[in-house]
Symmetry: C2
DNA sequence: CCGTATCCTAAATGATACTG
DNA sequence: CAGTATCATTTAGGATACGG
C-alpha cells in the first residue's frame, strides 16, 4: 500500500492512498452522501425535494454534499432558466457505478436498525 | 427519517438516525475500518500482521479501529496466554454480514483507482 | 508482542442568518 | 427556489513516547 501525495483528476485531488476501501470512502464516506445519492436515484432530484425527504440535513450540509459529489463527477446538475429557478440533479454514469455498493449498504443498514431496535425492546 | 436520541445496544450507542446509510457508515465509515476488516477476513488476524499489510496505519489508529469494531460486535478477540503474548481477531457472524458491502467497495475502489491513474497518464 | 496515553492538527458537522 | 457565509463545536486522524 502506498500513500499518494498528489494525484489529480480534472484538477481535483482524488487519491490519498492506493487502497480501494479508502478510495471508496473518499467518495461516499461522509454522513449524507449515500442517502442523498440514493434519493436522487429514486427521483428526488431537486433541492427542495431532497430537503423534504431528508428533513434532518441542514441547508449547508445538503449544499456541500451536492457540490462535492458534483465536483467528483458522481452527479450532474442541470439548470433551467425559469422563474422560479429550477435545478435538477441526476447520477452520472460514473455515479451509477456506485449503486451496487449503495444497495448493499441499504440492505445491511435496514437489517441492522431492525436488529438494534428489537434488541432494545427486550 | 428520525433522529435517535439514545438507542443502546449492549451499552453502546449505535443509532444516531434511523437511516440505513448513516447507520452503515456509523459502523464502517471511518478510514481504516473496511481495510482492516477485509484483511482480518483474509487471514491477517494478528496486530503485527495487520501492521505489515497496512503499513501506513499508525499504532494508535489500528488499535482504535480494532477496539471500536470489537465493541460494535463486528470482530472478536481471542487472547492466548503464551509467551510472547498471542492475540487473534476474527469476524463475528454479525461482522460477516458486512462482507457483501466490502466486496462491492473493493471492486469499485480498484476500478476507480485504475481510472484515475490512467487518466493522469494522458 | 500488543497495545495505551498524551498532545496536537485537520476535517466534518451544525445553527443561524442572509442572497441571487 | 436554490442556495452561500459565518461562526462554533465535535470528531477523526496522526506523531511520538511509554506500559503490560
Amino acid at each position: 500500500m502506498r500513500k499518494i501525495t498528489s494525484t489529480n483528476f480534472e484538477n481535483e485531488k482524488f487519491l490519498e492512498y492506493d487502497c480501494p476501501f479508502i478510495t471508496t470512502l473518499r467518495f461516499i464516506g461522509k454522513r449524507w452522501k449515500p442517502a442523498v445519492l440514493w434519493k436522487i436515484n429514486q427521483g428526488y432530484i431537486r433541492f427542495k425535494l431532497l430537503k423534504q425527504v431528508l428533513p434532518l440535513i441542514s441547508d449547508k450540509m445538503l449544499s456541500a454534499t451536492i457540490r462535492e459529489m458534483e465536483t467528483d463527477g458522481i452527479i450532474q446538475k442541470e439548470v433551467f432558466d425559469e422563474v422560479p429557478l429550477r435545478v435538477e440533479y441526476k447520477l452520472t454514469e460514473f455515479g451509477k457505478e456506485l449503486l451496487p455498493i449503495l444497495k448493499e449498504m441499504n440492505e445491511w443498514g435496514m437489517k441492522t436498525i431492525e436488529k438494534i431496535t428489537s434488541h432494545n425492546k427486550v
